[in-house]
Symmetry: C2
């Protein structure tokens, strides 16, 4: 990371092999998998396809890497097994189509690939796919089988989230546009569904940390208060649970720009869960933590201690059943086994209250920007 | 509208008095209303506050203006009426606080103003507001009473929606940033919750029409295909029902840049309803149609006729109960009383199928951009 005269630091490139892979490389992995199948067919063997077992039974908490990962259990699907044949056919179709996308530089939403491939098989009444519920799991199979994420298969889900702050980005797939996310008025940049280093480059920044904000309304508040400029930080508004594109961007800013990540959510089990997914990954996407997690992320607030410290008792709300259930689950997770979080979750289960980030407005509209966040950051008053 | 050498057209300014109003003007309207109350108090009269009656009973279909409006029925609240006293107090608080925002150039979300004003009244156990469910209706009261929209009271709800295309905008409240929404990579500009002409100026564009798109995924598809550049248009992705900021921007682009608006949604009653809200307004916001509606907007698709024309039978889905219920309601609305829409809704109720915009991928991923939209626009094949 080098600093130039303007105080802007250049990014270091994403290093890991798996994080950077050209479409050609991924296509060749698909080709390799296909060639094994073709070989099996030619030698009159039952063709097979191997992927990873998913679900709780194969999710592991990787203590060294400090994120959720997938275990070693694999699944083999055989074409000559009546129970597997349909899925085998679907997998071949998804492989062929994503291969085509990669070679033609096209991308598609997971809904589009479903629609593109759905048809009635000639001479039968059988549809290739009955619904997206059939194509989505096959996409996950393929991700695991060729050891990558769907973004690198040129697939994506819906975009969500907004970036603001003094960072220069470049989109190599769109006229090599260079744009600074602090110069788009107060609206910010709409984060794409796919943020891969092969396409979107993070060029330079003068920001000292990245603040991830749960609600878009708080994101707007901090911009109105001039917080990012005064405090030299970037903001990402995730709008609830972070979408894959937003998680990928948070991960990349952290790694490529060597920037601490602080997460700011509502003070309730849902908000804390949003934090834990950004930090350690989720069970559903355990295989992708390497691409998306930020184990060094810190939690800045809201906490139930804030209720007392900042005199917010009057603007708490009662926790709902869903919150209580979630807190009970979270308190058992290996990655919440530290005294600070155990204390916080126990407090939540005892007091059964929650506090929203926007409730800080009760002190004053700008309190969050002038007092709450600067104090917490100054004192490094974080949860782990 | 003048065209310069580069083919970029300048916007004409929003003309109507009500659409442009400085914070000072709005503050003075609040002051006037308050002064009447003070006068009543001083002359020992029961102070009163007048607003408009809302709900179906006072919503009218304005045939001349071609949008939903509010009728003439008013409501008077008296402070010395036990049933009104609490709301009267709440209204005064909202008036004082929004007045403060306006004079200090602050804005707040409707959740923040609730939190900012919530407190226990000294010497009692009574809270000023028990929940946002109490403050939101008071905000609407005030909008009607001072004849404006909450955006001009410096209030806003959550932002949603994305803008893409060759249009130059300026944010006067943020370093006078000028930015072109076609030069932000493929991500586009995240539309703010408030898009008022006093703050956000639409400077110039070379676009010939504005295409409003229901899903963010289709928005991304059209950008990937280079559709806006090839077809000289702007795109706004609304992500379902359009948020107020997005509606305000659509309205302003239409009026200030004299640009036709085409709306592209899923082919189902929910999508058609999204269109009708953009075009004629909604019952809930009937008072604000003047600020938000676009009576000249046209509907480009999807229609149930598209299913046959474009051979999409295989990728339709069954309508759900909610869709059927909505279609039955819509067929009775005065603003759907034309033969094209009646036919479409009857067809929906008969066939009970729906067709998504992403289902066009069944023909080919780029079919929507190379064939479907250009054909429809070329032939002016719209629903009214």
């Amino acid at each position: 990371m080098k600093e130039n005269k303007t105080g802007m630091r250049k990014s270091k490139k994403a290093k890991k092999d798996r994080e950077i892979a050209t479409p050609k490389e991924i296509a060749s992995r698909i080709k390799n998998t296909s060639e094994i199948i073709v070989k099996e067919i030619k030698s009159n063997k039952d063709p097979s396809f191997t992927t990873m077992q998913r679900g709780k039974g194969n999710v592991v908490w990787d203590e060294q890497k400090r994120y959720l990962g997938l275990g070693e259990k694999t699944i083999v699907r055989n074409f000559l097994n009546v129970a597997h044949a349909r899925k085998f056919m679907q997998t071949s179709m998804i492989m062929a189509k994503t291969n085509e996308y990669l070679l033609q530089n096209k991308t598609a939403s997971i809904r589009e690939i479903y629609y593109e491939l759905k048809h009635t098989i000639e001479g039968t009444k059988e549809n290739t796919f009955e619904g997206q519920g059939e194509s989505d799991p096959v996409i996950v199979d393929l991700e695991h089988s060729v050891n990558t994420i769907r973004e690198k298969l040129n697939l994506h889900a819906n975009p969500k989230g907004t970036l603001y702050g003094n960072i220069l980005l470049k989109d190599k797939m769109h006229f090599n546009d260079k744009f600074n996310a602090s110069k788009l008025g107060r609206g910010g940049w709409s984060i794409m569904s796919r943020i891969e280093p092969e396409e979107i480059e993070l060029l330079e920044t003068d920001a000292e940390y990245l603040l991830v904000v749960e609600t878009e309304a708080m994101f707007e508040r901090l911009i109105e208060e001039g917080f990012p400029k005064k405090n030299k930080c970037l903001l990402i508004g995730v709008g609830g649970q972070a979408a894959r594109g937003a998680r990928r961007l948070i991960h990349r800013v952290h790694n490529e720009m060597e920037m601490p990540v602080y997460v700011f959510t509502d003070g309730d089990p849902y908000g804390w869960y949003i934090y834990s997914v950004i930090k350690q990954g989720s069970m559903a996407l355990a295989a992708h933590s390497e691409f998306m997690s930020v184990p060094d992320a810190k939690y800045i607030g809201m906490t139930l201690d804030d209720v007392e410290t900042y005199k917010l008792k009057n603007v708490t709300e009662n926790m709902k059943e869903g919150d209580i259930k979630r807190a009970k689950e979270m308190i058992e997770y290996p990655w919440f086994q530290n005294k600070e979080w155990k204390r916080q979750l126990e407090k939540a289960l005892k007091e059964k209250i929650r506090i929203e980030q926007q409730a800080l407005a009760n002190r004053k509209l700008d309190f969050v920007a002038t007092t709450y966040l600067p104090e917490k950051i100054g004192k490094k008053d974080f949860l782990p």
